[in-house]
Symmetry: C2
Subunit: 387 residues, 2 copies
């Protein structure tokens, strides 16, 4: 097992009604915060009213930053930073999916930086200090509620990049499975694919002896497959929503990936798709992942694929390894289709016109050091196989 | 899934040589600390010298509390508190097994309390504030390096009780598998039994829908069985020691037990054994656990035992449930024998003279609400079946 540092300090309040614990946690830090949310779905569900009432009852004043987009844009960050400075706010509270939380994190990190917030995305060492971040998550997907990652898009340069900083790890996250009941079937399926991809990206690693990380990864993958389907079929299945939500946080809080340093393959390829076509991140991953697995098979790099096939999918271990690997890739594609995700990038609205540019940008994220090293040509080949 | 709060803020530095990260973490809080250790094994292994050198090189001064016992005694806590007050120390650094860390935690919590430290064990609400705790763990067993529990014995009243407080969770723990190479075969086996018991105590729960907790539990149990045996057979097997060590921390940092509120059955029975006979905690658990599993079978409460048998031990799911349950209990006993733990309490030096008293004390820890409720008579019966 490789050396690692593990640090997941976020306090989690999990379960229905657990939002009642939020005000006391915020008040340990500030009574004057920025409230960040998205396109208004929290107003429809009543969550907006619940939070603002809790703020009033507990003497917390807030300024609002509404309208944060899926694949959150740098413009929203700039506006949030402006509000924090103008009103001397002491914390950032996000309610919504991963996008609102990511936006909140970068705002929190950019307030004390004098230049443009996009600078700290390009160079994380420019972050000086961070406001405390709190969140109420309404989507099981990115796992941002328990880590220090934040992905921001800058459409003016067709770029989607991540900030990684321990200091933006939320102080406290509220995970109430009931808030995910209204998530659409497509977003539920895409979220499931995103969670699974976070696990795949670290499960497929050259690191050896990682029994703990791999055992937890396999357990969570099985849960995603079981509960992802159940949640799509029956959106108000509390147990399915609860397990999916808790799995989403643990999939990417460091637990599955500790001591596994390689850069991520499918995320690197997908980030380019979202940056050029603004597609749903998880759906892009669901199409790319089985294609990437087939690339592993072409490269004869199948040992982990075989473990996944046997331990997660229950494929007979007595079959020849290549057959297990092919069946594992095939069943993964079938699973994503079964929960309603299109099988091709074309169906998601992706064209072929930017493939070379996207492959170059993906390659530049370090794909020569990926689990199975990829050249620009390899990436182009994978993109094309998804059309 | 039941509601829960999860909070595991300890920063973990894992792997060989990772102790180099310790001084910087301590210095964020204090440059004048109490250094707590046990009977001198850290002097034999060179760890004492390494730590005191790191202190000197980094300008950290310390007072020492050596000689902390297995099943740490309240007298050591009192002495540590005296030292902290006399020298105005700003943190507590423990190096050794769970006992030294538990002792350090209670010292850290008792310094600001005016009365006798045993009071805060009997009534945790008396804890006012805690000094920061740091540790270098040298035994995969209690998992104290990542939680807020500390067990202390008061032999004058034959009592062994636990403090639970979020504020004594270590700020930082160093987990270097090489420091566990010198752990004896018997202590390695007992540590493995302790880890497994921490998982069993929460795996066997009436809580429903806990797929994440149960999946992680099953993964960690499999690792304990595989790596516990390997570490006993080959004490310098780095990968086995590493996985056992990381499993020990995750087994009881809240991850496996969140949303599972029942009091613990085997630990309750074992704490009485250690309090009366000062036996090795994990060895006591290894004898009690299979006997308790057989008690479950007598009560026809076998559903979780069947899951454990199939998912962890790989027993054929097609067999009748009772047969799976009996085989699961039997194989658990066999496993503990195979790593060198005696099969009976008598062999561990336990007599029958205190059984009634021990059963009463165990019952008073809430056994009417245990996973399978136990009366004093049930507990006496389980103790006797272990003789």
């Amino acid at each position: 097992m490789e050396n690692f540092m593990f640090y997941a300090p976020t306090k989690i309040f999990f379960g229905k009604g657990s939002i009642k614990n939020l005000p006391a946690e915020i008040l340990k830090h500030s009574d004057n915060v920025l409230f960040v949310y998205g396109g208004g779905s929290i107003k429809k569900t009543g969550l907006y009213e619940k939070i603002t009432n809790l703020f009033k009852e507990n003497g917390i004043s807030c300024k609002e930053l509404p309208g944060v987009e899926p694949n959150p844009k740098i413009e929203s960050v700039r506006e949030g930073v402006r509000l924090c400075r103008e009103h001397k706010l002491g914390g950032v509270v996000a309610a919504g999916g991963g996008s609102t939380v990511d936006c909140a994190k970068v705002i929190a990190a950019a307030v004390s930086y004098d230049g443009d917030p996009w600078d700290i995305i390009l160079d994380g060492s420019k972050v000086k200090s961070c406001l405390p971040v709190f969140d109420v998550i309404t989507l099981a997907a990115t796992g941002t509620e328990m880590n220090g990652n934040a992905v921001i898009s800058n459409m003016s340069v067709n770029d989607k990049k991540a900030l990684h900083d321990d200091r933006v790890k939320p102080v406290c996250s509220v995970l109430d499975p009931e808030y995910t009941f209204t998530v659409s079937k497509f977003q539920t399926a895409s979220g499931t694919a995103d969670i699974m991809s976070h696990i795949f990206e670290v499960y497929f690693s050259r690191a050896e002896g990682t029994l703990v990380q791999d055992g937890i990864s396999e357990a969570l993958l099985k849960i995603c497959i079981e509960c992802g389907k159940k949640a799509v079929d029956n959106p108000e299945d509390y147990e399915a929503r609860a397990n999916l939500l808790w799995a989403s946080s643990l999939a990417i809080n460091g637990l599955t990936g500790c001591g596994k340093p390689e850069p991520w393959s499918c995320h690197s390829m997908e980030h380019q798709l979202s940056a050029y076509y603004d597609i749903t991140h998880g759906a892009g991953l669901a199409v790319l992942t089985p294609a990437w697995m087939k690339f592993l098979i072409r490269r004869n790099n199948i040992s982990k694929l075989v473990s996944y096939g046997v331990n997660v999918l229950g494929i007979d271990a007595a079959l020849p390894d290549v057959q297990i690997a092919e069946e594992a890739a095939g069943r993964t594609a079938e699973f994503f289709c079964s929960i309603g995700i299109p099988a091709t990038l074309s169906e998601l609205g992706v064209g072929t016109e930017h493939i070379e540019d996207m492959a170059r940008k993906s390659f530049e994220e370090g794909m020569e050091n990926a689990y199975e090293p990829m050249s620009e040509t390899d990436i182009i080949e994978i993109y094309k196989s998804c059309m």
